[in-house]
């Protein structure tokens, strides 16, 4: 079953909700189209996060972004986790939910990291089946985010974008496209980011993540989210201008997202792909 398209406007611009934001946020209520929360920060029954969430959800749409689904783990999906996720999505009436195309734990342990898999045909069906199941359980669009990665495997039989596209296509779910991750991985693995973007069906892009990254002395790029958005990967950004050139492929909502104010919202404006949010 293919879920309904997202409810956010096509040019909706959101921010990642993080604890350091609360002070300013609760005082100024900036002009933004939505906030994205890390699902796991609100799945527990702790009172303070729930209180803050209630204040924010009264004023903004909230979308969920998870890091703990473990979609590609050996173990079956954690049904207790999924129940909580469904509850949270319902609680905030999330326009959509996303998590990563990765594994996060195995052998009963959680690594609290987004770990890559070999991109092989025999994983596509499993990943797609699970993603479709999650989307059905959620009853709303479910997006899969591409990773930043630091290692590749000899056992991969296709490029990441082919694997990613096949999973999203078979699952009937959505791309949650992180352009920073494409750029980071392209530099770490030596591929052209344009090749990646050419493979993406933009009519199935639910949201775009924009963030910064760090440079290691050995040339590796690390997806840290603690640096300003780099202009160097601006060409990766699927701007409206570019989208117009592919109008067939960009008919659905594609909201942009910045993980933190330090990521320079004006960057998006300079790119002509979104208005600048009013963050005082």
């Amino acid at each position: 079953m293919i879920a309904e398209p997202p409810k956010l406007a096509r040019d909706a611009l959101g921010l990642g909700l993080r604890i350091p934001h609360y002070g300013q946020l609760l005082e100024h209520w900036p002009e933004l189209d939505y906030f994205e929360i890390i699902s796991e920060n609100f799945l527990g029954d702790a009172l303070p996060p729930r209180r803050n969430l209630d204040l924010v959800r009264e004023r903004y749409p909230i979308v969920l972004h998870g890091v703990g689904l473990n979609l590609l783990g050996h173990a079956p999906l954690d049904s207790a986790y999924l129940d909580k996720l469904c509850w949270l999505a319902e609680y905030v009436n999330a326009p959509f939910v996303s998590d990563h195309l990765c594994w996060t734990g195995g052998q009963g342990l959680s690594h609290h990291d987004l770990l890559p898999v070999p991109y092989a045909a025999d994983l596509i069906g499993v990943a797609a089946e699970r993603a479709a199941f999650v989307q059905r359980q959620l009853g709303r669009p479910f997006g899969l985010e591409n990773l930043s990665s630091y290692v590749e495997f000899r056992t991969s039989t296709m490029p990441e974008w082919e694997f990613y596209s096949a999973v999203v296509g078979q699952a009937g779910c959505w791309f949650m496209l992180d352009v920073n991750n494409i750029y980071v991985s392209s530099q770490n693995h030596g591929f052209a980011p344009e090749s990646y973007l050419r493979a993406i069906d933009f009519s199935r892009v639910l949201q775009v993540h924009v963030a910064g990254h760090a440079h290691e002395a050995n040339g590796t790029l690390i997806d840290t989210h603690d640096h300003a958005v780099a202009d160097t990967f601006g060409d990766c950004m699927p701007t409206p201008g570019k989208a117009a050139g592919r109008s067939r492929r960009c008919s659905n909502g594609m909201s942009a997202f910045l993980p933190c104010p330090r990521c320079s919202p004006s960057w998006l404006k300079r790119r002509g792909c979104a208005r600048e949010p009013n963050i005082s």
Partner: protein
């Protein structure tokens, strides 16, 4: 199904692996800058520093008493013994204060790069204080218990159930004050342990709304809080009286009434556990 765990034998990510297993090395590719082992090591590093950061945030006082370097060494020992198993990264913190109690040296805890160590008891108390702050802050919302006339007949034989948003802290050094002072500091160096207090000090840590407050407790009042958490109300009062020096006993009933009333007003209890007092721990 094809997967490549980073450490296939145990699933645990080692601190600094000497060598990855052969199968993993066979499938992980090098790039022009880094060998396959160096690329895999990025994940090990991320794993450890993500978790270290979680522990630094939850145990800020303990971290600074020990210095980041020494603290991290204890965290890695703990996590190798008790690796995270849950999607909730906060669950990785559970039991760390007990672990320190078990593994810290008998008297002085050595600090990397320093001639003198820090008193074991100070580290243990700091860890208990940090753990309590973390636990109380993230406690769920609960309805406070207000005993009424209908509870009178069973009150003495029942145990009061403590609210998760309240904790009693004990300090032999001004640790809570130190915790507040270092809150805004960005430093990885060990902070000096202040002079010890002349007498142990007790605090009630409680969450009001989403704010944490500390209220000073008299030593006898702190003892009552501790006893009420373990024993039936009747047994707790009896023990309190037994432990009270004869010269203070005259004023004890009035003080006890006041302390009990205050605990109820502060929302310290969530209900009554009507277990017969004989079944409640008497230690």
């Amino acid at each position: 199904m094809v997967r490549t765990p980073l450490q296939r034998a145990s699933g645990v990510l080692e601190v600094a692996p000497q060598a990855y297993d052969q199968e993993l090395m066979r499938v992980a590719l090098a790039n022009p800058q880094l060998s396959s082992a160096e690329r895999l090591a990025i994940y090990n590093r991320q794993y450890w520093f993500r978790l270290f950061t979680v522990f630094h945030r939850a145990f800020p006082l303990t971290t600074r008493l020990l210095s980041h370097f020494t603290f991290n060494a204890y965290v890695s020992r703990f996590l190798l013994a008790e690796p995270p198993r849950d999607w909730n990264v906060d669950s990785a913190l559970v039991g760390f204060d007990d672990f320190l109690l078990e593994v810290l040296p008998a008297e002085l805890v050595p600090i990397a790069g320093q001639r003198l160590g820090v008193a074991r008891l100070a580290v243990v108390q700091a860890a208990r204080i940090d753990a309590a702050f973390h636990r109380v802050f993230l406690a769920p919302a609960v309805e406070p218990f207000h005993p009424g006339a209908q509870h009178a007949s069973q009150l003495l034989s029942s145990r009061l159930v403590a609210s998760p948003s309240v904790a009693v802290l004990e300090e032999h050094w001004p640790l809570c004050e130190l915790r507040r002072t270092i809150a805004g500091e960005v430093s990885e160096a060990a902070v000096a342990l202040p002079e010890g207090l002349l007498k142990p000090r007790f605090w009630l840590l409680l969450r009001a709304g989403t704010k944490l407050n500390l209220l000073a407790l008299e030593p006898r009042e702190a003892q009552l809080w501790g006893l009420l958490r373990q024993l039936s109300v009747g047994a707790a009062l009896e023990r309190l009286e037994q432990d009270c020096p004869a010269e203070q006993r005259a004023g004890l009933p009035e003080s006890t009434q006041r302390w009990l009333a205050r605990s109820v007003t502060l929302g310290a209890w969530t209900g009554l556990e009507t277990t017969p007092s004989t079944a409640v721990r008497q230690d």
